[in-house]
């Protein structure tokens, strides 16, 4: 039988992500100051706090999917910059595909990842290569699904996703941002890491910890 992720583990992972977003406020803000308006860390710190509060206060009640959807709504209330809204969208879409479940297996997690990826693309209308979080999220979702399909462990699939996210992030660093605020910075974005890609890597890394 395949490995299972319990509700407790999901709650703990969300807590870790929340705490990490608070801890990385200054770092992520400094990245966004270079090619945006400098609010990314602030937004994500507020979301991080809200997610921790949500996770502490809200019982899962035998439905991880619904619980994640509600986490997404809490995130959107807490901070609704571009990235914040996409993060909320990812949580809501990811939750939707596992509605009613009390534990998650590898295939569930891969489906969540894919739904989040699709949801973010739909909401944000960015294409791969536009130098947005998509360029880390999309390869990560694909690598995760491939590893699960190949029968690898959850940990191995997670590591594969992280590696794919990091190299996706790095692959677009030389490029010019084509969407959102950074697109107005034009050539001056070339060579600078996309703050959203980095924020995603930060979150994924702490989820696996």
């Amino acid at each position: 039988m395949s490995e299972m992720v319990t509700a407790e583990a999901v709650v703990a992972a969300l807590q870790r992500v929340g705490a990490e977003l608070v801890a990385q406020e200054a770092y992520l803000t400094s990245l966004d100051q270079q090619m945006g308006d400098g609010d990314l860390g602030i937004t994500l710190s507020k979301i991080g706090l809200a997610l921790q509060e949500f996770a502490a206060a809200t019982p899962v009640e035998d439905d991880i999917g619904k619980w994640l959807g509600k986490a997404g709504m809490a995130a959107n209330k807490a901070g609704s910059s571009s990235f914040g809204t996409l993060l909320a969208t990812a949580l809501m879409r990811g939750g939707k595909v596992v509605a009613g479940k009390t534990t998650l297996n590898g295939a569930d997690l891969a489906a969540m990842f894919a739904a989040a990826d699709a949801g973010v693309q739909e909401r944000g209308k960015a294409q791969p290569g536009d130098k947005t979080v998509i360029d880390a999220l999309h390869p990560a979702a694909q690598a995760f699904a491939a590893a699960i399909d190949a029968g690898q462990s959850l940990r191995a699939a997670g590591e594969a996703a992280l590696t794919a996210a990091e190299s996706g992030r790095d692959s677009v660093t030389p490029l010019r941002s084509k969407i959102g605020r950074a697109s107005w910075v034009g050539e001056r974005t070339e060579g600078k890491v996309d703050p959203g890609c980095e924020a995603f890597v930060v979150m994924l890394r702490v989820m696996l910890r």
Partner: protein, 333 residues
């Protein structure tokens, strides 16, 4: 960071509290949330309602234009951050007077995503919502990619014209058309001389040399066309005006509304020096000025700099612009 504030996290809620205390006859808020600013007398039955929204730090944009003859409501975000879809929905519900709601706001990712979500949610409640995006900043993309441009001070002309149309009893289609017509004829460009600091970030968003300016900077400090040596007022004005005129292409004999807008720290004296040159350039081209607005209309907290907005007006737009309006930040009789 030299700001008059208490805790950075309380900057926006305390500002909103002060605003409601100062203007109780004109403003109120919906859903128990200060971030959902509405006209005190909303909903106005039988009138198309107008809403906007966006980050804080740009006063009078956005909430400063809520009032008779302009907007009905505004969802207020944290500094430079979009409000949430929920807050927009709350405003939408409260201001809906039975004839639909028009969202007019700047073309920024977070705002677009959240307003789109709010519009979807509102449609479940049988509120017809239409959206008009403001993309007036010529410095943010070339004409071929005008759809990518960001919205800056020009949104005030859209608020004014659409608000007048709604107050005159216009239908949802007519109000949308008025906003779109205003924006189709509106272009803006700005220049920044100093940065601003997001209270919670504690340090300036960007740095700029003591003798430099950024031509085409956005109202959140987004860079523009070029970083250059500081020039004279006339040269700066010429740069901005030329870029706008090349894009808008007004003809001799046309009439324009002109807005010279301070970004926050620039004294009105300097804005009038800019206006002088802008007016002279128009006169040379035999272009008339229908109305001049000189002051702070869309700011970036304590950023120094200015923008120029031109709107080409025909008789219809002129009448909409001249129509009275009355908000805490904008009174026209």
């Amino acid at each position: 960071m030299k700001k008059i504030l208490n805790q950075p996290a309380d900057f926006v809620p305390e500002m909103l509290e002060g605003l409601i205390l100062a203007h109780p006859d004109q403003l109120s808020y919906a859903g128990g949330d200060l971030h959902c600013i509405v006209r005190a007398d909303s909903p106005v039955a039988g009138k198309v309602a107008l809403a906007t929204g966006g980050g804080s730090g740009h006063l009078p944009v956005f909430l400063g234009y809520v009032g008779k003859g302009m907007l009905d409501g505004c969802a207020v975000g944290d500094v430079f951050a979009s409000p949430s879809a929920d807050q927009m929905l709350e405003v939408t519900r409260r201001i809906h007077g039975g004839k639909g709601v028009v969202y007019i706001y700047g073309n920024y990712g977070g705002d677009v995503m959240n307003f789109d979500m709010a519009a979807e949610m509102a449609s479940f409640e049988d509120i017809e919502v239409r959206t008009v995006l403001v993309k007036d900043d010529v410095a943010s993309a070339p004409p071929a990619e005008a759809g990518r441009r960001r919205g800056v001070a020009g949104m005030v002309f859209a608020f004014k014209c659409a608000g007048a149309k709604a107050d005159m009893g216009g239908s949802l289609d007519e109000v949308v058309a008025a906003a779109e017509k205003a924006l189709a004829n509106t272009r803006t460009m700005g220049v920044a001389l100093s940065p601003c600091t997001v209270p919670r970030a504690g340090k300036p968003t960007f740095t700029i040399g003591e003798d430099e300016m950024e031509i085409g900077m956005g109202i959140h400090g987004e860079p523009g066309m070029k970083r250059e040596k500081l020039q004279s007022a006339d040269e700066i004005t010429e740069r901005m005006m030329t870029a706008i005129l090349d894009d808008l292409q007004p003809a001799a004999g046309d009439k324009l509304a002109v807005m010279v807008n301070g970004l926050g720290a620039t004294p009105p004296e300097e804005l009038y020096i800019i206006y002088r040159k802008a007016h002279q350039m128009l006169a040379e081209r035999r272009i008339g000025v229908h109305r001049a607005y000189v002051g702070e209309y869309a700011t970036s907290m304590e950023m120094a700099g200015a923008s120029i907005t031109l709107m080409r007006v025909d008789d219809e737009l002129a009448a909409l612009l001249d129509y009275p309006a009355h908000t805490p930040f904008f009174v026209q009789v």
